[in-house]
């Protein structure tokens, strides 16, 4: 976020904001932490996971983290908890539990 031309935060005043809400930085969706919308949370069971990555295919928020072709975890900053990944998993490797 520090590499942004304009840092808009929840505390930005009217004198600091941009006219009409112009967004001057491309790719800024990353700055918006949609993870706090979540009421349900996907949970990974590594022992059952076959790394088929169909969860990565269906995730609408690019929140399945993958390294070297393997599932490594969730991006909980941006996962909205829609549960699509848990629903499609055929191996019982993804649980869907209430947020506490």
């Amino acid at each position: 976020m520090s590499n942004r031309k304009v840092n808009i935060t929840p505390d930005t005043t009217w004198k600091e904001t941009t006219p009409g809400g112009v967004i001057v930085d491309a790719g800024n969706a990353e700055d918006f932490k949609t993870g706090d919308w979540r009421s349900m949370r996907p949970v990974w069971h590594e022992d059952k996971c076959k790394h088929c990555l169909l969860c990565w295919v269906v995730c609408p928020d690019n929140s399945i983290k993958v390294e070297n072709g393997k599932f490594v975890g969730f991006d909980y900053d941006h996962c909205k908890g829609c549960g699509v990944c848990t629903k499609q998993c055929k191996f019982g490797a993804l649980d869907f539990v209430p947020e506490e």
Binding site: I8, P10, T12, W14, T17, P19, G20, V22, I23, V24
Partner: protein, 392 residues
Amino acid sequence: MAKRVSLSGNEAVAFGMKQINPDVVAAFPITPSTEVPQYFSQFVANGQVDTEFVPVESEHSAMSACLGAAAAGGRVMTATASAGLALMWEMLYVGASMRTPLVLAVTNRALSGPINIHNDHSDTMGARDSGWIQLYSESAQEAYDNLIQAVRIGEHKDVQLPVMVCYDGFITSHAVENLEMLEDADVKNFVGENRIAPYALLGKEPMSMGPLDLPNHYFEHKRLQAEAMKNAKNVILEVAAEYEKLSGRKYSFFEEYKMEDAEAAIVVINSTAGTAKYVVDNLRAQGKKVGLIKIRVFRPFPAEEIAKALKNVKAVAIMDKLDGFSASGGPLFNEVRSAMYGVADGKIVTSYIYGLGGRDVTSVNIEKVYSDLFSAIETGKYEVYNYLGVRE
């Protein structure tokens, strides 16, 4: 050197647009504004301007296309009236809040219903809270002069707002008057070759305009927009001073006509000021201390300045060429009276709603207003809310 010409108000505006040579004009015809895009499209067809002319299918689309072009960074103009302005309503607010300067020439016409094609101010007065700067014009000359200044006012870095240039339908739009036009080169030089667009979709940096704005930021953006309207006050005066050097014609927020020692004054907008000045001259010849204020800038509203100008009158009549249906006077009346509170107290302040749907406003009507004011001063008895020229 300026040239003397005889033109209708619509011709003066269309020729002004030709001299400004905007990047884009998107327009849809409506009486009595139709001639503006009609003449302008001829200039486009003749290759006399470089403008992209977009003949759209409605006024909503006209304003949408204009906003898109202005968001891209272009200098943009259009024209409309009455129901056409009403159909632009949604986009008027979008343009002001997106901070896209563009110039809209409005030939003031009554809003339906009953359907009526003649002049009153219900169209632009309804748009008074849309966030647009509003300049009003008594004559074809003023419409032309306001149009050219509007480009500079709206595009100023401290403003970045769209501007309406308003003049009375048929009375000013179609009557041929003698006026002075500036040389093409002077207009080109005055407005500058390109719009100054600090944010533009076709600029060097990628950006988004018009995004969704949730409760945590919307208020800050509106507050910033309000500041732009405040800034416009200084910019309007600066641009007027520069325009005066070029044209010899002086402009401010409003014109004060024989106000120095006036006891009874009228506040009025657009062409009726011409009739009222004639009445002021006649009454002055009879030794009556009468004056007139003609509003040029309604948005931003020059509240302090108007209150100061009315400080020494005994009675003032404020004339609205629309009924705001507030059951307590028209918008000009309410704003002027509110501006006077605490600054010019103890005056007789009355409201006159007049000239709706193109009803003629004659010198006899205006004389009646002054005579009502003097009667109020003498007797202390008067009606606050009045209708002028309606059959009782």
